[in-house]
Symmetry: C2
Subunit: 348 residues, 2 copies
């Protein structure tokens, strides 16, 4: 059976969950697509790089209990002298999966990683929204020129099929607006504050529960939502907009008093995103808005999110993500679904 070789650039929680999910669905993939997926390259920030053209065995890559000494055995295989770009340039893979932490202000180094892989004629997948928010069109055009796939389903709402829905299922429709709640951290904080918890305590509680990052400023200031809105507008509406062009208001200034005032009027405050074309010019906004208690945004639970896509032929279609497993698996599924899409394209 032909091998389909995978490079993981970044090997944190999502990369490990992806490796486990790949092992779990190996039989399905082999039966459905007639290829055997193998992780052949890995780049990490801490350990350096690993290039293993025959494939890194599943016993080493991700299915084990973290307590079993597995990390130590894996780490010894890495070459501290190889960085991410070295691993990418080694070219021992069919698809490069970009999983490094995002820099929302620049989209780097993820954009360079994707560009380099595409220039080498490899498929590229990114779970990092930087490249889509900052360089979607040139990367899309490069992929087309090279005759390879460039996919990014996990960048917005994890594995929930937002881009693929638009690409595969709203064929022939012109998308006129995208809107929704895209950021779980701010949604969690606002929900906690409704229970009378202070902003600071809500952040702390979110950290404990794993929803909120050590430095949540990118979420709180609306940058994460703005980057996701930019990504959606660039892909779905060909908007050619950047995150710093979004009209952005965060939730840092919201007080329990604001929330109580909204509640007195039967409303809840939610961080809403909206992108549309106004006389052909892309306009994106991220801001906290009081919404009616029985409206869709109001009922989004702490870590749920949704996107509504307005079209000319089909009106509005809404997709909701309700994570009941830890969010991280949803992101890994988004990456896996992109891998399966490439295998399907290759099979056709």
């Amino acid at each position: 059976m032909k091998t389909f070789r995978i490079a993981l650039i970044g090997f944190g929680n999502v990369g490990r969950a992806f490796a486990r999910m790949l092992a779990r669905k190996r039989e399905y993939i082999e039966e459905t697509f007639g290829v055997s997926p193998q992780i052949t390259s890995v780049a990490t920030r801490r350990w350096g790089g690993l290039v293993c053209p025959e494939g890194i065995g599943e016993d080493l890559i991700g299915i084990q209990d973290p307590e079993s000494g597995w990390e130590d055995r894996l780490q010894r295989l890495f070459d501290p002298g190889l960085d991410a770009m070295d691993v990418i340039k080694a070219g021992e893979y069919d698809v490069m999966i970009e999983l490094t932490p995002i820099n929302i202000m620049t989209g780097q180094p993820a954009t360079d990683h994707v560009r380099t892989a595409l220039e080498m004629g490899k498929h590229a997948i990114t779970a990092n929204k930087g490249p889509i928010a900052w360089a979607y069109r040139p990367l899309r055009d490069l992929a087309r020129k090279q005759g390879v796939c460039f996919l990014y389903e996990a960048t917005v709402m994890d594995g929930t099929p937002v881009y693929n829905l638009s690409r595969e299922n709203l064929m022939g429709c012109r998308i006129t607006e995208v809107s929704g709640i895209f950021n779980a951290t701010t949604n969690f904080i606002l929900t906690q504050m409704e229970k009378g918890v202070t902003f600071e305590d809500a952040v702390e509680e979110g950290r404990r529960q794993g929803f909120v990052e050590a430095d949540p400023s990118m979420d709180i200031d609306g940058w994460d939502a703005a980057a996701k809105l930019t990504a959606l507008m660039n892909v779905l509406m060909d908007a050619q907009i950047r995150p710093d062009q979004i009209q952005r208001t965060g939730i840092g200034h919201i007080t329990i008093g604001d929330i109580e005032e909204a509640a007195a009027q039967g409303k809840r405050i939610k961080l809403l995103c909206r992108g549309r074309l106004v006389y052909g010019k892309p306009v994106g906004t991220v801001k906290p808005v009081p919404v009616d208690r029985d409206s869709l945004p109001a009922i989004m639970d702490a870590t749920s999110s949704y996107v509504t896509i307005d079209t000319d032929l089909m009106g509005a279609t809404t997709v909701i993500e309700e994570p009941f497993e830890p969010e991280i698996d949803h992101t890994a599924y988004g990456v896996l679904s992109d891998v399966l899409r490439i295998l399907k394209e290759e099979k056709n």
Copy 2:
């Protein structure tokens, strides 16, 4: 340019809306797929059949004002001696689109129409859920054997991509449960009753607004919802279940008193559908249930509907349809999206 020939079996509101939509998107289709779509066969109950291998011009098929005498000119072209099956057997088409009124109790004659077209090696699309509810598996297997497409996106939630979402976007996932609100008529009646309108007056008001059919008993007794649930379970879970095997309770017995009692507990009554496998056996239920005011089913407006798809890898994904145009265009888009999918498959 190559012609792609279309047969419309049934030519009511959906067929006419489809013809208008096809005219509107002609340029897009020609540019994207390199084929020119032509309606070459039409069967109607009132006028008989029309088979016109060169294509029935757009000036005649659907884009005109109904007041312009267009119907009279069109009607004269029909042969009252040709019935639907004659038109299907004439074979002057690449895809047969089944748009006749549904018989929920038998799935006929739609199932025979689809089977005959597939046996002739033609693609088949149905907006009529009868064939999916009663004969999904044999029709699917026949289409595979013949190497043609059998598609049915419009059968549940109009053009909202429910089947295509599962097929294209939840690849690799095992679907463990489907649930939601599938019937707009009952949702409208229950919403009206919350305003203190009696059941009978709500039905009458729905008729006036065009949501409720002359004989709404199939909706009120839960048969329409049961047929849609069956269709989803058969396609998404390979359940091999029939509409008469669904545990079905309608809303005919619901009183304003019941609704007020629910409201006093902060609840609204909604006709919920749920299908799952219990120890491998398919179990489907349709019944009115009191749900919390701030839950997803509760906030579904009169004619909105939703489906939640539970999976092993991705948790729950929900899709909402919110018709802002008259519902009928959404159904036509569902049919058009199936046509575009076939054109995409043929292009690959």
